[in-house]
Symmetry: C2
Subunit: 295 residues, 2 copies
DNA sequence: CGTTCGAGTGAGTTTTTATCACATCAAGCC
DNA sequence: GGCTTGATGTGATAAAAACTCACTCGAACG
């Protein structure tokens, strides 16, 4: 079949259906009804003379050929998207967790905007993997718990230092000065990073300490907030509580130790040449360096 | 612009127009009228808000952005084509010059078909570069005068040996036994390989010999035919005249010398895994080896 | 100096694509 | 068992997109 007669729209619909495992979801992504997608897929199957999906009552599963075709098409569409984005550059999009956004980015955003008035910055909240091409992400700040996906390059920003933090009065009241004192305290945990306390115990060289959270919050910034309100102890990276410690809202009674992860900057591969991306990446690096320089 | 709303058909039309440098040509390739292509391109330019072509009275020239976009789109469409061809494998297509087809391939084709009845072979005539993806070529036989394009890998089949050939009576009549005797003879040339005689003189170590053809034929196989009919001397690779020499229709009064080129097999990169392609490539290699083994 | 060649365009037509509304099927659940 | 639910398939029809036709323009060609 020559390229000149490929049914491009049908291929796009099929690729979406295969990637999402659902005609309905594909239809939503494409902004059409499921019927339109269903027809596209059927047209393709008739044209190729082979089934691309196994139909089950509540699900569709790509056949061997379908899966292969879909994955190769995905690459082709990615390239197309990149090609177009080069003549139609969108805003710079920075993705980070809600916590990093709350406690690190937003406090510095005014300064960034003043220094880079020409850069239109769009923010995206996400703490794990993300498709840099489809979701048009330029930069992401992530911990090394996750691996940068294909299409992005990762670099180290800082090595995380972690430690328990709480309200100053709380630390005084419970007399917290060595790890074992913590067993008397209320331990606050985060759903997005369930292994945080265990990591810390391991980093201390006390893996036997059983630091099971008494309470688990949905977001990490809620844990910090709860600690600042005297509800217990949060296990936080220094980066995210430095301002609070400086202002006296929080203390770190046991200090900080080097944690097992680092904070990374992920850069969309195809955007590395863009001036605003380089500028913003440099700004992020500089701000991070400034943080780790002030103990 | 999200991938879900890319105007795929307009992008294809634009890519064709940019590649061919003409809306008309693109229209022909796509099987539509030039108006349709013109409208697609205009729609794209309006959507992007920038011109993709400079319009000149009889030509369109891609702008900087247009050229960039087109070349990246070409890659994306190539991939798409490859993806589809994997689920819809077409016939195996072998491309070679009309001369190689006449004098080497066709005489062996019957044998090939008998040995490989399952392989559907399509033939394509072309002696220089060719787009393996767009024109759906699997294998090509070429001299190393040309370089294999991106998307194909080249390997050596044989090193060409070249020498003047003519009808036996012609050689007798003119008494041809050393290079300088040829100055008395009628020199036949081919438009597709105008430097053949000069190459030979150089290979002999007699670059000063001015072997200017008295007559130039459009195709190389016509030159061989003319020589076989006693019209003069052809400068031929041994490969293409071996049968004629064996049967006594031609003689090579000065023998053959190693020429500056080799005969190559070009294989479409994305088809190297296909069984019929491997089989056919092996057959070609074996047949070529058989030729160079019999002096 | 008329002819030709290639592109742009208004109006109208054809083709494709999408919607709507309903059908189907089986899993999950009282 | 029988009802509900969630997902896909499809006939009829509406909407949108793509295409053609027939003409225009402008300059290069001969």
């Amino acid at each position: 079949m020559p390229i000149t007669h490929l049914p491009l729209n049908a291929l796009r619909a099929f690729e979406a259906a295969a990637r999402l495992g659902s005609m309905n979801a594909a239809a939503t992504e494409l902004g059409v009804t499921h019927g339109a997608v269903s027809r596209h897929v059927k047209a393709l199957e008739e044209r190729f003379g082979l089934p691309l999906f196994e139909r089950h009552p509540r699900a569709i599963v790509p056949t061997r050929e379908g899966a292969q075709l879909a994955s190769e098409l995905a690459e082709a569409f990615d390239r197309m998207q990149i090609a177009v984005s080069r003549v139609q550059p969108g805003p710079l999009t920075l993705s980070c967790s809600s916590t990093v956004m709350m406690r690190w980015l937003i406090p510095r955003l005014e300064k960034f905007k003043r220094a880079n008035q020409a850069i239109e910055l769009r923010l995206n909240i996400n703490y794990d993997n993300v498709d840099f091409i489809r979701e048009e992400i330029s930069l992401a700040i992530r911990t090394s718990i996750y691996r940068a996906p294909a299409g992005a390059v990762a670099e180290t920003l800082i090595h995380e230092e972690i430690g328990p933090v709480c309200h100053p009065d709380y630390a005084d009241r419970l007399g917290l000065s060595k790890p074992d004192d913590l067993l008397r305290a209320r331990i606050l945990g985060s759903a997005t990073r369930p292994q945080a306390w265990t990591d810390w115990a391991a980093a201390l060289g006390r893996p036997e300490l059983r630091m099971t959270p008494n309470e688990v919050y949905a977001h990490f910034y809620l844990v910090i907030q709860a600690a600042a309100c005297g509800l217990g102890l949060a296990l936080a990276p220094r980066l995210l509580v430095d301002d609070e410690i400086r202002s006296g809202h929080l203390v770190a009674p046991l200090g900080f130790v080097a944690g097992p992860y680092e904070l990374q900057l992920w850069i969309a591969d195809h955007l590395r040449g863009r001036v605003d991306v380089r500028t913003t990446a440099n700004w992020i690096r500089a701000e991070m360096r400034a943080m780790s320089a002030t103990p």
